[in-house]
């Protein structure tokens, strides 16, 4: 009993540790990576005894200290309680969504089997969407509580944009659900270990390429970053929904954005890129289609799988940053047209084609 609680606590710690630290590191990658992309030096002003550590000191030490020691300004005519509550509401869903994403297969130690996933619930995907739909409140309430016209406009834009793209996101995942026939992320990841015609891994990207494009676009839009950063829109709305936020509360909005991206990357990995699966790696080692086998001990297999998951996760985090520093901002009507007139019909068509395909072939895969 105590041991089982301990295992759950350890997994919870691990997941939070992963999300929070990746979010922090992404802050550094964003600053240094953007400098790399724009051919400039980037953050290097802060140093400890002459050691700048490629901007690490700047981002991981100087920035937080500056954020946390700045004045926490609350607009005098705003809503004090809601102004404080809003950053928490933005941060909370971003942190707990990762709970259902599996980061490895079953780890067997002695007679005990540990499922490398924090919460194994049979409605995992619905849970993710339920939590994602709560993410809107942080923006909307923060915008309203600031009692500022620019903030309110940013909040209205943000909520409209997030609701629009949630529909496209949900429709794209429907295709994945139909193909794998389950709502449970761990089972989806497991099903992707099968091979098509004996040599192609049955990953989501292979079976549902259109759904991947839809999901990825919607995920970038949900993160509210360039090219979809209309809720902020510096050139139009000062800073949008967080115009009136400073210090630690602004840091929370900022960190929530990165945590959301980590979760989105985890979702893309799990749904479309096999989760913790490595091609041809079975429970007892590699089984290559050219009939050669490499047997590996259990711990090495689990370590490889978890490492593979982390690698894919980090890759998609980097892809998010790459997109943010490559594309210019869309116009608002373009964002809405993309969401409703392109992603939505394509998503519906993908659903119909997938259903027809499954009926004609008479089998899910």
């Amino acid at each position: 009993m105590i041991l089982e609680l301990g295992i759950i606590a350890a997994k919870a710690f691990l997941v939070l540790f992963l999300v929070l630290n990746l979010a922090g590191i992404m802050g550094w990658v964003e600053r240094k990576g953007s400098a790399l992309i724009q051919d400039r030096v980037g953050a290097n002003r802060a140093s400890v005894m002459g050691f700048a550590g490629l901007g690490l000191v700047n981002t991981l030490l100087a920035d937080p200290i500056k954020f946390l020691t700045k004045e926490d300004f609350i607009p005098p005519y705003g809503d004090k309680f809601l102004h404080t509550l809003a950053p928490c509401l933005a941060f909370f869903p971003a942190l707990i969504t990762f709970a259902v994403i599996p980061f490895g297969d079953v780890l067997v130690i002695g007679a005990r089997e540990i499922n490398l996933q924090l919460a194994n619930i049979n409605i995992g995907i619905l849970y993710i969407f339920a939590m994602a739909s709560l993410g809107v409140y942080g923006i909307v309430i923060g915008a309203w509580a600031s009692n500022n016209k620019f903030s309110l406009l940013g909040g209205v834009r943000g909520s409209a944009q997030m609701i629009s793209y949630e529909i496209a996101m949900g429709l794209s995942v429907m295709g994945i659900l139909m193909v794998y026939g389950t709502l449970e992320p761990q089972e989806i990841a497991r099903a992707q270990g099968e091979l098509l015609w004996g040599w192609i891994p049955a990953w989501g990207i292979v079976l549902q390429p259109v759904a991947f494009l839809l999901f990825f676009t919607a995920a970038v839009a949900e993160s509210k970053r360039i090219p979809f950063d209309l809720p902020e829109g510096e050139s139009e709305l000062v800073a949008g929904f967080h115009t009136e936020y400073s210090g630690g509360k602004f840091l929370m909005f900022f960190a929530a954005e990165f945590a959301e991206m980590v979760t989105s990357a985890g979702l893309i990995t799990t749904l479309f890129f096999g989760g913790w699966q490595i091609p041809f790696l079975m429970r007892d080692g590699f089984h290559f289609p050219w009939h050669s086998e490499v047997n590996l001990p259990h711990l090495v297999v689990v370590g490889l799988q978890t490492g593979g998951f982390l690698l894919k996760l980090v890759f998609f985090c980097w892809l998010f940053i790459l997109i943010r520093w490559t594309l210019p901002r869309f116009r608002y009507d373009q964002v809405m047209r993309l969401g409703w007139k392109m992603l939505l019909p394509v998503g519906l068509a993908n659903l119909v084609v997938t259903a027809l395909w499954m009926v004609v072939l008479g089998e899910p895969r």
């Binding site: 409605i123 909307v140 909520s159």
Partner: protein
């Protein structure tokens, strides 16, 4: 008084508390937020009743989608504090709610003497997505389709109202 009962009474009192806040808070935005909190607690109650699907849909549809639109409208109109209603209005409202309570009590009291309410959770596939899907698409296909047509009518109506009339 086992753990489940304590959990139930804790959640139930939270639910009642948030529901009371919805009607007693004067600021409409605060009121809408209290409603979101109440819906969230209700979803947790569904979870303890072994109905995760209903719980997830409760948050996804009501707390996540419908209430955002509520907040949207309230914020854009920004009505400030709610206007005071007359005594007659209050009396009418109280009478209507008293009738509702009476009706519910009439349903609850006679049965509690004759039949025992099932105190335990229903185990098995009840409340899972598969079970819900089977029931919806086998036993209740017609009501489901009628409900979806009703929603379609509402959408078409909204689009017609919002369409710009060409002059």
């Amino acid at each position: 008084m086992n753990v489940e009962m304590i959990g139930f009474f804790f959640l139930a009192s939270l639910l009642v508390g948030f529901s009371l806040l919805v009607i007693f808070v004067s600021n409409p935005v605060h009121s809408a937020l209290a409603l979101i909190a109440a819906l969230f607690v209700m979803a947790v109650l569904f979870l303890t009743l072994n109905a995760p699907m209903v719980a997830a849909l409760q948050i996804l549809v009501y707390a996540g989608a419908i209430m955002v639109l509520f907040l949207f409208v309230v914020m854009l109109l920004n009505p400030g504090t709610a206007e005071r209603k007359s005594a007659l209005w209050w009396a009418g409202g109280s009478l209507a709610s008293a009738l509702l309570v009476l009706e519910l009590l009439g349903l609850l009291i006679p049965r509690s003497e004759t039949t025992a309410w099932p105190a335990s959770r229903i185990e098995g596939p009840f409340g899972s997505p598969e079970a819900l899907g089977h029931i919806l698409f086998n036993d209740f296909v017609l009501p489901l389709e009628i409900a979806s047509v009703l929603l379609l009518v509402a959408i078409i109506g909204a689009v017609t109202l919002a369409r710009r009339v060409k002059e």
